[in-house]
């Protein structure tokens, strides 16, 4: 994947940046470049979405099936340059269009370069890929891999286990980044750009999940080709409507779906606070919570499970048999990668290290990973109550020395 249009813009941005002294000549060249890009005369050939063939032998899909899947998806979702929305999917098309396409730059009244549209390709596609497949040009060297949006699963959320993330969860990820991973925070871009990116990420996620279902119908189920109108109607009415309703749920029924951490306890008495941490430690080590299984007795991420953890994206690549693993690995874009349990002593938490962030990670778990939610959901009773979750949070914070010193003198044993 290359971005000729992108490179052009970077050049002009560098020249026009306030830190660049720049001669008149360079400024003229830059203005010329910017105008050219702005007027679209350097418009690259249209970008296209890559078909999701993860885990499949490309030979098992006929060219007719490929064409039909691609055409129907384009009918529903458009192209990376010109997004569309199928009925029932509530996203802002104006914002989507701003985030989509190749980056287009401009110069504002102060002579500073600004980017007018094409945010996704400018800021995200290098890692996450034009298709949101988490396999952009830089993906291979990232650890963890950039998120593949196409399964519709996001790890750091505030919603009950099994639910989609809320809009705010995605927004937080884009704005604040995921500390300890390659994902930077984009707060400097301002809320308009971030909102457009949030819409675009959700769009790619819905499109990706739709694509997986469609491939299943066409390839595994051998839906008669070319796809008939009744099939398409059912697909939109049932499958896409279902996916869209899942994405709407956190906004429509926040009371049921979104978990709001109760306010954190505060202590005046040192002894009391130390006892709270100690209780957290006991829960951490208990058979009920099972934290130490992965995170280790001391929280160093070295529990007995630590060597056999995989996330949902990598789990299908592996097999107990080494030959089989090697054979399967060829069917995936990125090599198999093991998941590491977080070392809690480092005080580096991808979902944020505020007490409320840690509360949510424990209460709802990390979706798409082996970390389960201990707080339960409307259907499944939680194994820990809110007070117990807070105790674990305090204990986890104490591991990295993030509690006031008085705790140690009050007899808190690490």
């Amino acid at each position: 994947m290359n971005f000729p249009e992108d490179r052009g813009f970077v050049t002009s941005a560098r020249l026009w940046g306030p830190q660049s002294p720049g001669s008149t000549c360079r400024r003229v060249v830059a203005l010329f470049l910017t105008l050219m890009i702005g007027s679209g005369c350097q418009e690259p050939p249209g970008a296209s979405f890559r078909l999701n063939l993860e885990g499949r032998d490309p030979a098992e899909i006929s060219s007719l099936a490929r064409e039909e899947i691609t055409r129907f998806l384009e009918e529903l979702f458009g192209t990376p340059d010109e997004p569309r929305l199928p009925p029932g999917v509530d996203l802002d098309l104006g914002r989507l269009k701003q985030a989509a396409g190749h980056p287009v730059g401009d110069v504002d009244a102060q002579g500073t370069a600004v980017i007018r549209r094409g945010y996704y390709r400018r800021y995200c596609a290098r890692c996450h890929g034009i298709s949101g497949d988490g396999a952009g040009p830089a993906a291979l060297v990232m650890d963890p891999y950039p998120r593949d949006f196409r399964r519709g699963i996001f790890v750091y959320t505030s919603t009950v286990p099994g639910a989609k993330p809320s809009r705010e969860d995605i927004r937080r990820g884009v704005r604040d980044g995921l500390p300890g991973s390659g994902m930077p925070g984009f707060s400097r871009l301002g809320s308009d750009v971030i909102e457009a990116l949030v819409d675009y990420v959700i769009y790619l996620a819905i499109r990706g999940e739709t694509e997986l279902l469609l491939i299943q119908y066409v390839v595994d189920e051998e839906e008669p080709l070319p796809l008939t109108v009744p099939f398409k109607e059912r697909f939109v009415n049932e499958d896409i409507a279902f996916i869209a309703s899942q994405w709407r749920a956190p906004e429509v029924e926040p009371d049921r779906v979104v978990v709001k951490p109760p306010s954190a306890p505060s202590f005046d008495d040192k002894q009391e606070r130390a006892a709270w941490v100690q209780q957290g430690k006991e829960i951490y080590l208990s058979a009920r919570a099972q934290c130490s299984k992965c995170h280790g007795l001391e929280g160093a991420g070295d529990g007995e499970q630590a060597g056999s953890l995989y996330d949902d994206w990598n789990y299908p690549k592996r097999s107990p048999d080494a030959n089989q693993t090697e054979k399967r690995a060829r069917l995936y874009t990125l090599p198999l990668r093991r998941l590491r349990a977080r070392n809690l002593k480092e005080d580096l938490f991808r979902g944020g290290n505020r007490p409320e962030d840690l509360y949510l990670r424990i209460a709802v778990g990390l979706k798409g990973t082996p970390m389960p939610g201990a707080g339960g959901s409307p259907e499944v009773p939680g194994v820990l109550n809110p007070a117990e979750i807070w105790q674990v949070v305090w204990f986890v914070r104490s591991l990295s020395g993030q509690l006031p010193r008085c705790l140690e003198s009050a007899g808190h044993a690490k």
């Binding site: 098992e60 099936a65 009918e75 529903l76 569309r84 929305l85 199928p86 009925p87 029932g88 098309l93 699963i153 286990p161 099994g162 997986l212 279902l213 299943q216 595994d220 189920e221 051998e222 839906e223 008669p224 080709l225 109108v229 009744p230 398409k232 109607e233 059912r234 939109v236 009415n237 049932e238 409507a241 279902f242 996916i243 869209a244 309703s245 899942q246 058979a287 009920r288 919570a289 099972q290 299984k293 007995e304 499970q305 056999s308 953890l309 949902d312 048999d321 089989q324 778990g365 979706k367 798409g368 082996p370 970390m371 389960p372 939610g373 201990a374 259907e379 499944v380 009773p381 194994v383």
Partner: protein
């Protein structure tokens, strides 16, 4: 909705015809797929795929299927399908699985691979057979006879049973922990909500959970336990009751099938769609007549089929 129509009406012409008026706002949908008609195009695809993949298997399973035997019974509006899977070779040894977690509890059990369960006289257990076409009318008494819960027990550090079926929306999955250690049940069916549930040692409300599936699947999916990597189970979720799992002696039976020609799917965990000479992609067609039983007889499966 109108907003979308205005903007996208051009390419989604069928949207304009008012097909979407019936979407319930909360997204709770009735899953209904009409019968899939075998047409010329699909026939071609099936043959092509079959031709490439099953050449080896085809030679080995020549003469595989007995001629379906039809027995006439009392006059009922429903028919029955039965058969028996036999592993046509020496009983394979079940590999001992590595049990290296919670050894004080799980170490005392002889935990072995369950992906190919062959009985003493060759019967192959845990083969899924299920209706692929739309059933039409489902006799109401079937719903009454079907329990509302399907039990998945965590016992002796394995899932029991290893294979199960769930009829949605009628049935829910009832997950129980009977072990003195905590268990985990994790699965993520395509297009449905993923689950990752902790079950504490009993007694207590957190030693069990009730899970509701929201949509049917085309094939069984894997259930795993993140605490004990050797554990596995397979669940088939369908929107009709016409599914069976072969018993330890290899026999299976699907009763109260509406009369008519039906397509069935066969699936086995080691190889996925159980594709043999006469069953491209593990599918076969059977004509069900009222009050009769179609017996597929003994279906002999050569060991080569299961070598992955």
């Amino acid at each position: 909705m109108d907003k979308h129509r205005n903007v996208f009406g051009e390419h989604l012409w069928w949207v304009r015809r008012g097909f979407f008026a019936g979407i319930p706002p909360n997204g709770t949908l009735l899953w209904r797929r009409k019968g899939r008609v075998q047409d010329q195009m699909r026939g071609q695809i099936s043959r092509r795929v079959f031709g490439r993949k099953a050449v080896g298997a085809g030679a080995l399973v020549a003469g595989l299927l007995a001629v379906p035997r039809v027995t006439h019974g009392a006059s009922q509006p429903w028919g029955c399908l039965r058969g028996r899977f036999v592993y046509d070779g020496p009983t394979p040894e079940r590999k001992k699985l590595v049990v290296d977690r919670d050894i004080e509890c799980c170490g005392k059990f002889d935990i072995r691979d369950e992906s190919l369960m062959v009985g003493p006289d060759g019967g192959l257990a845990n083969v899924f057979v299920y209706l692929r076409s739309r059933p039409g009318n489902i006799p109401p008494e079937l719903a009454d006879e079907t329990p509302e819960r399907v039990l998945l027990d965590n016992r002796d550090c394995i899932f029991i049973p290893h294979c199960l079926t769930v009829w949605v929306p009628r049935q829910k999955l009832y997950i129980v922990n009977s072990d003195p250690v905590a268990q985990n049940v994790a699965f993520s069916p395509l297009g449905d909500r993923p689950a990752n549930i902790i079950l504490t040692p009993p007694p207590g409300p957190t030693a069990e959970a009730l899970w509701e599936f929201r949509r049917p699947q085309v094939a069984p999916f894997l259930v795993k336990c993140n605490y004990h990597p050797w554990e596995s189970a397979y669940i088939l979720v369908r929107d009709n009751p016409y599914m069976a799992i072969s018993r330890p002696d290899g026999t299976f039976e699907i009763d109260k099938l509406p009369a008519g020609r039906h397509e069935f799917q066969v699936w086995q965990e080691r190889i996925g769609y159980l594709q043999v000479a006469t069953w491209p992609r593990g599918r076969f067609n059977v004509e069900i007549k009222p009050g009769t039983t179609v017996d597929l007889g003994t279906i002999r499966l050569p060991p080569a089929l299961f070598q992955t």
